[in-house]
C-alpha cells in the first residue's frame, strides 16, 4: 500500500461518514424533538439533547387516535390495492410489447412512449377525472390518477421480458397446446419474480408517499391519507383536532396540546413504517434502480 492510498482511504471514509450523518441527522432531530418536554423546547429550542425527555406528545396522539388511525387505514388500503393493480396492469401491458411477433407492436409502443413526451397539463387532467369520471372524494381518486401505470415501469418490464425470457420457452408452451395467457401465467411470471418485486416496490413507495392526489381530489377529513394529514398538521397543528367534537371540547384540547412536540411526533408516526422497513428492502431497491439505469 502506497502512502498516497494510506492517506486517501481514511479521507474517503471521513467524507462518507459526514455524508451519512447529513442523511440521518434530520431524522434524529425530529425524533428527539418528538420526545422532548415542551418546556425544554421553550427554553432551548429544538435540539438533539433535550434537557428533559417526555412522551406527552405521543400520549396526546394516542388519546386522539381516531383521526390518525383512519388516515393510516386509508393509506394502507390505497397502497395495497394500488400496488396490486399497478403491477398487474403493467405486466399485462409489458409482456405483449416484449413479443417480437405481435402485430402493431410499434404502434402500441409509440402510444405508450408518446405519453412521456407530451401531456395535456394538470388542468385538463384534473377536469377529466372530476367531471367525466366523478372521482372527487373517492378512494379511487387516490389509486387511479397518474399512479396506476407508469410508462417508464412498462419499458423497464418490457426489456426484462425481452432479455431474460428465452423465446424457446414460449414456443415449447405453444407446442404443448397452452394458450397465450397460460404461457404468461405459468411460464413467464414465475421467471420474472425479480422485476415484479422491483416494480411492486416502486409502486408501493409511490402510493405510500402520495399526498398530491389526496390534496387535489379529497376534501373530506375522513378520507384523508396519512401524508396529507401530516401536511395539514404542519401548517396548522390544530387540524389534528378537526373532527365532529363539540367546540368546547376542542378548545380544551387545544389548550392542553403540546403543539411543538406533537407535530414532530406525528411526523415520526407517519414516517416510521418506511424507516423500519427500509433496511429490509433497500437491497432490492438499489438493484431495481441499477437495472433501470443500465438499459438493455
Amino acid at each position: 500500500m502506497t502512502i498516497a492510498t494510506r492517506i486517501r482511504t481514511p479521507l474517503i471514509h471521513v467524507f462518507f461518514i459526514l455524508f451519512a450523518i447529513a442523511s440521518l441527522f434530520p431524522f434524529l432531530l425530529v425524533f428527539m424533538v418528538s420526545v422532548s418536554d415542551e418546556s425544554s423546547i421553550i427554553n432551548n429550542g429544538y435540539t438533539i439533547f433535550p434537557s428533559k425527555i417526555s412522551f406527552a406528545a405521543y400520549e396526546f396522539l394516542f388519546n386522539d387516535f381516531a383521526q390518525i388511525a383512519r388516515a393510516y387505514g386509508v393509506t394502507i388500503l390505497v397502497t395495497f390495492f394500488g400496488t396490486i393493480g399497478s403491477v398487474l396492469i403493467t405486466a399485462l401491458f409489458a409482456y405483449p410489447l416484449s413479443r417480437r411477433d405481435l402485430p402493431l407492436r410499434r404502434t402500441f409502443s409509440f402510444i405508450l412512449f408518446f405519453t412521456m413526451l407530451f401531456s395535456g397539463g394538470m388542468v385538463p387532467w384534473y377536469i377529466t377525472y372530476v367531471t367525466m369520471f366523478g372521482l372527487k372524494n373517492t378512494l379511487l381518486s387516490m389509486i387511479i390518477p397518474s399512479l396506476l401505470l407508469s410508462a417508464f415501469n412498462v419499458l423497464l418490464m418490457r426489456s426484462f421480458f425481452a432479455n431474460t425470457i428465452p423465446e424457446s420457452i414460449v414456443e415449447s408452451g405453444t407446442i404443448d397446446g397452452a394458450g397465450e395467457f397460460t404461457i404468461f401465467l405459468k411460464l413467464v411470471v414465475p421467471l420474472s419474480a425479480p422485476i415484479m418485486a422491483t416494480i411492486a416496490l416502486f409502486n408501493l413507495l409511490a402510493y405510500w408517499n402520495d399526498w398530491y392526489n389526496c390534496m387535489l381530489f379529497i376534501d373530506k377529513a375522513n378520507l384523508m391519507n396519512i401524508q396529507y394529514l401530516m401536511t395539514k398538521t404542519l401548517n396548522n397543528v390544530q387540524f389534528l383536532l378537526m373532527k365532529a367534537d363539540t367546540s368546547s371540547q376542542v378548545g380544551d384540547l387545544v389548550a392542553k396540546m403540546p403543539t411543538e412536540t406533537v407535530r414532530m411526533a406525528l411526523a415520526i408516526v407517519g414516517v416510521s413504517p418506511l424507516l423500519l422497513a427500509y433496511p429490509f428492502f433497500q437491497k432490492f431497491y438499489i438493484s431495481g434502480i441499477t437495472s433501470g439505469a443500465v438499459k438493455g
Binding site: 462518507f16 455524508f19 429550542g45 429544538y46 385538463p124 387511479i144 401548517n235
Partner: protein, 321 residues
Amino acid sequence: MAALAPADSVIRPPSRLRTFGKQIKKFRILLLMMIPGLAYLFVNNYIPMYGVILAFKNLNYVDGIWGSPWAGMDNFKFLFNSPDAYLITRNTVLYNVVFIIVNLILALSTALLINEIRDKVVARFYQSTFLLPHIISMVVVAYLVYSFLNTESGLVNRQLVNLFGSEAISWYNEARYWPYILVIVHAWKGVGFLAIIYFAAIIGIDKEYYEAATIDGASKWKQMTRITIPLIAPVIIVMTLLSISSIMRSDFGLFYQVPMNSGPLMPTTNTIDTYVYRAMTKLGDIGMSSAAGLYQSVVCFFLILGANFAVRKISKNDALF
C-alpha cells in the same frame, strides 16, 4: 368497398387485410391483455391532451368544455402580460439549471469515491444511508426542514445564530434565502439516487482496463479521468439530457410543501407547476392555468426533441428514440 365483400375475397388470394385479420385472431389473447393498459393511457393521458383546448376557451361549467365560448389567444395574452409569466419561467428554468449542475457534480464524485472503498459491506452501508432521503415523501422533508428553520425554536435560529449572537431570522418570510435552501434540500434528497445510477455504471466497466492502466503506471487520478469518466459518459449524457428535457417542469412537492406554501416566499419559490395549481384551485382561473400548462408542455416537448436530436448527432446509440 366492393372488393372486400366476402363473396369476392373467397376467389381472390388472401388480401393483406385478411392476413392482418388472421394475425389479430392469432394474437387476440395478447391484444386483450393490453386493453387495461391502453384504456388507462387513454383516460389518464390522451383525453387530457384533447383538453388543451381549454386554454383557448372561456370555460363556464354550465355550457361545458365544448359549449363554452372561444377565447382565442386571450388566456395567453393575459398570462404573458402579467409579471407572473416571467417570474415563474425564470424560477423554473434557473432552479433546474442549478439543480442539474450541483447534483451532477455531487453524485459523480460520490459514485467515484464509493468505488474506491474496498470493503463491500461498508460500501453497501454508505449507499443505503445516502439513498434514505430519496424514499421519503416531500411532506416528511418539509417537516425536517421545518425542524431546522422554524423561527422560534428551529435548530438554526436557536443553536447556530444564537451562537454567533446575531438576530433570529424569520426564514418562512424571507424570500432571498430560499434559492440556497431549495438547492440544498434538492441535493440532499436527490444525490444518493443519482450516485447509485452512476455507481452501477462504474461497476459495469471491465476490470482489465484498470489492470492495464496500473501496469502502465497510471495514477488513480489518471485512471479516473481517462478510463472511468469517458466510459460512463453515455450514462451521464442520458441522465443529464433527461433533466434538461424536463427543465420546464418542477418538483411540485419541493416548491409547494417545503416552503409551506408561504406567501412572502413566492418571488423565489413560485414555479410553473405551483402557479398552475394555485391559479386553478385558489383563483379558479381555468383558462389561464390551462394556458400556462400548455405553454409548459409544448416547450418541454420541443426540448425533448431537441435534446434527442443533439444526442443522435453526438452518438447514435445513446439517443432516447
